[in-house]
Symmetry: C2
Subunit: 150 residues, 2 copies
């Protein structure tokens, strides 16, 4: 994550209409180790720093800070400081942030729904990592052409 500018404008070959790269950029943003967990945890209510830290569990305060800053920079989260003693800082999702929860949850449902299938695939693969091999005969039979390529 590190609060660096996402390279949406990096030197890219511009093959596809930019859509793919854009998706990639978004996933670079929310696909890091913690962003999604933070977004999910933020829900609808404002949350405080250590509250988030405890609830998420396993995140270092450094990464929570960086993640929140990143989300804040992208306009997904607002950070409200109350200069009380002890200090109090509320984080809450913006409308943009909330709108992101929708597609993320879709992905989440996919994940939950296909977790078993994925685990099964992994077991299978770990047992026999080799890809399926077709002899030339079968190949030409199935594909009707295995010839001339280069």
């Amino acid at each position: 994550m590190e609060p660096e500018h996402i390279d949406v404008t990096e030197p890219m070959p511009l093959h596809c209409p930019g859509a793919c790269k854009t998706v990639s950029g978004v996933l670079a943003r929310i696909g890091d180790k913690w962003s999604v967990l933070v977004i999910m945890q933020l829900g609808d209510e404002p949350r405080r720093f250590n509250d988030l830290k405890r609830t998420i569990g396993g995140i270092s305060q450094r990464m929570l800070t960086l993640t929140l800053r990143g989300l804040e920079r992208d306009g997904l989260v607002t950070r409200t400081i109350y200069p009380t003693i002890p200090p109090r800082v509320d984080y809450r999702l913006t409308d943009l942030g909330r709108s992101l929860r929708q597609p993320v949850q879709a992905l989440g449902q996919w994940a939950m729904g296909n977790l078993k299938a994925i685990e099964r695939a992994r077991s299978t693969y770990d047992a026999a990592p080799a890809g399926q091999i077709f002899g030339v005969a079968e190949a030409s039979g199935r594909r009707d052409d295995t010839h001339a390529i280069g």
Copy 2:
């Protein structure tokens, strides 16, 4: 990415029902630098290695191999080898892989639709990175309590 076992079973505090962590796991899988681009490029037709490499553009052959192996391991992609000369290997999405395109595209549409908003937010943030600050008075007025925390 590196063909390592995703740590879905890592020591996790088990706070949430596992849903969040599962989502996180999936994003760890497809949220890397290339997986989504590969999945998008694979589309419905079988594609060959260098074909993918060229079309994606910018990916090293090492990373394409690793990414494809990862996707294959998770059952999202099949790898079919035709032992011809020169060698031919077809990659294609499995049903599972195709089903993933759905939520991913949802995310992609979100990305496209809110790209401008995000860029605007970034500009704003880069100009004034500080979070909004409320004085104690305003704070207690808005939240009706700013007192005792710890």
